[in-house]
Structure formats: C-alpha cells, structure tokens
C-alpha cells in the first residue's frame, strides 16, 4: 500500500462530494455571520474586560497611594496592589495586541506558532496570577478597609493577625500547587475547574511548550532526501 494508491481513493470522493455539497444563499446571512461569536472573539472580549478592570484598579489604588503617601503602613500594601494591577494591564495589552494581529490567511506554521506562543503567555499569566493572589489578600484587606470605610486594619485587628494572614497566604501557594497537581486529572465533572487545575499544575503549559517544539521541528529542514 502506497500513499499514491490512497491518493486515487481520496480523489474518488470528489464526485460524491460534488453531488452532495451545496452552498446556501449566502448574501441573506452574511451580516449575521460576521457577528457570530467565536473563540477568538471571546478571547479578545475577555482580555478587554481584564485590561479595563485592571485600569480601574490602578486608578483606585493610585488615588489611595496619593492620599497616603506619607503613611508607610498603607503605602506599602497599596504599592503592592498597584504593581499587580500595572503588571496585569501590561500582560493583558500584550496578549490583546497578539490576538488582534491574528491573521489566519498567513502560512499555517507561522500562525500556529503565534497562537501557541500566545497560549503559553496566557497560561503563564494565569499561573502567576493565581500563585500571587494569596499574597495580595492581606494588602487588599488593609487598603479595602481604609479606602471603603476609613478603618485602620493595623489597629482594628490583633497585632499578630496581619503578619499571620500574610504567612497563611504564603503557605497557600505550595498547598494550591499540590492540590492542583493532585486533582488536575480528577475534576472531569467540572471542565472549568479542571482546566484551572491543569493551568496551575503546569500541565497545559507543558503541553503548549511541547506543541511549540513540535512546530519548530516541523519547520526545520530535514537532511534526509525525499522519496
């Protein structure tokens, strides 16, 4: 059996397809089709929401920072939150630009490499966001209480509470990673949770990196002659 024998078989399907495929009247539906939701559109929409929310957060934290510039106990946590918000904007904008530049009419290998790189970047951003999040609970508590209700968390809670809360957040990082690795393959009942667990455990990232490597391998010129 040779690929050329299969080529003949493949081409025999053509006549059957000719008889059975029919383009519908397209013009009537063209407008609707342009509006159709697709994965690419959903990604861009999600990124816009992420960037806008982060931008609003930088405005709020920026205003808080300006109000408490001479009070290190509020300045430091607000600066931590501001840094996280700015980093979130930067990664969101980078991904948005990459997603907007997607052009499927470019050669397949180039497009797939760009898509996989974007996926790697998103997976890294998700992983780091969830890893750093427990560390931001305490600063958010301090800034939130002061900003929303004028309460001083340093005075409102026992002296050990805030450092303990920070340490608890720190301990949550390895615990979260362990849980993600342990349950990544056991959450089939919830695809969303499973995807998140696989993202945190680094499995989706490893798969995306392997995919990038296979694309590079495919692109590479091979020394063996053709047959």
């Amino acid at each position: 059996m040779d690929l050329d024998d299969l080529k003949q078989t493949w081409q025999e399907q053509d006549s059957a397809l000719d008889a059975n495929l029919r383009l519908r009247t397209f013009a009537r539906h063209a407008g609707n089709v342009r509006q159709t939701d697709t994965a690419g559109r959903r990604l861009v929409r999600g990124l816009w929401i992420e960037v806008i929310l982060s931008f609003v957060a930088t405005l709020l934290f920026g205003s808080f920072l300006a109000d408490h510039i001479l009070e290190p106990r509020f300045l430091v946590p607000a600066a931590m939150l501001q840094l996280a918000a700015v980093l979130s904007i930067a990664t969101g904008v980078r991904q948005l630009v990459a997603a907007k530049m997607r052009d499927d009419s470019e050669p397949v290998v180039a497009v797939q490499k760009r898509l996989e790189s974007l996926r790697v970047e998103r997976l890294r951003a998700t992983k780091w966001t969830f890893l750093v999040a427990p560390l931001l609970w305490t600063p958010l508590l301090i800034v939130g209480l002061k900003g929303l209700w004028g309460l001083d968390a340093w005075a409102a809670f026992p002296p050990a509470y805030l450092p303990a809360s920070l340490l608890f957040g720190l301990a949550m990082i390895p615990l979260g990673l362990w849980l993600a690795r342990r349950f990544a393959d056991r959450l089939a009942c919830s695809p969303l949770l499973q995807r998140l667990a696989r993202d945190l455990a680094g499995r989706n990232l490893n798969a995306a990196l392997a995919s990038l490597a296979s694309l590079a391998e495919f692109e590479r010129e091979e020394a063996v002659g053709s047959n």
Binding site: L23, R24, T38
Partner: protein, 171 residues
C-alpha cells in the same frame, strides 16, 4: 454598471472550492456534529477575512491557509467551539451528510485505511497529507504551510515510508 456586492463575489469564488471545506473538516473531526461545526467556523473565518483577501494569491491557496489554521486550532482546543452560536438555518454550506459519507469498508477497504491513516497523523502532518492527496504541487504546499519546498518533499517521503512500514506490519 453596479459593482458586484462582496457577498456575491465571495460566493462566486467559494463555490468551485466548497469541497475544501468538507475535506479539511472531515480530516480533523470524527463526528458529523463536530465536522458541521468546523465547516461553519471555517466559513465564518473565510468571510471575515475576505476584506483582506489579496487577489495575487490563488483563492484556493488563501482558502486552504484559513481552513487549515482554523481546523488545527479547533482540533487542538476542546473549548474552541461555536456550536449553537450559528443557527442551523444560517449555515453556509449544506451537506447531504449521509450520501457524502464514504461507502462501507467492505465495498472500498482503501477508504477505511485512508481515514485510519489520516487519523493517526499529528495536525501538521495531516495538513501535509491532505494537500498531497489533493494533488497540490509542492511549491503551493510550501506556500500554504510556510515551509520550504525541499522540506515538503522530505516530509512526504517520510510519511510514505511510514505508510509502507505500517502496511507491511499489517500484512
């Protein structure tokens, strides 16, 4: 003279190549439902990209690039689905699915073998084999995939060897 509306121009260009939609979709999907979804997703992407179509490129080459890019992305990600977002009555390509299905393996065992062989390939080799089976010249395959013509020849040779080995092992 009134210029042809873009929808009509698109349909005129698409019509002679509509089989590409079905062939690409059937190479990347096992179930009829997924195949139908993928055909629609490719058609949507073709229409959205039509504004940027550069007439210096053959329409079929442009179409293959988009179809394969959408199909590979669809294949790689379980979540990338537009099921239920394109109502059936707005489908672009109507497929008489049953009649277009390959005949039973008893009648043509080569078809069964062909589909099994394609299903075993990774997404990029699958694209390469699909284009080869279509009789696409190597330089056009290279243009569609974005690799060199020599590389196309080498990879086709390697896939041929693999198929021969598999056929020998099966015999």
């Amino acid at each position: 003279m009134t210029p042809t509306p873009p929808q009509e121009r698109f349909q005129i260009l698409l019509d002679p190549h509509k089989k590409i939609l079905w062939k690409v979709a059937s190479s990347y999907c096992k179930s009829a439902a997924d195949r139908q979804d993928l055909v629609q997703e490719i058609a949507v992407q073709l229409w959205r990209s039509f504004d940027r179509y550069d007439a210096r490129l053959r329409f079929s080459t442009w179409m293959y690039r988009i179809a394969l890019n959408v199909a590979i992305s669809f294949y790689r990600s379980e979540s990338r689905r537009i099921r239920h977002t394109v109502p059936a009555e707005e489908s672009i390509l109507e497929i008489a699915e049953i009649a277009a299905e390959p005949s039973s393996p008893e009648i043509n065992p080569n078809r069964e073998l062909l589909h099994r062989f394609i299903a075993k390939l990774d997404p990029l080799d699958r694209a390469l084999v699909l284009l080869y089976l279509e009789g696409t010249p190597y330089d056009t395959i290279a243009q569609i995939l974005g690799i060199s013509e020599t590389n196309v020849g080498t990879k086709i040779g390697r896939i041929k060897q693999k198929l021969r080995r598999e056929a020998a092992n099966a015999a």
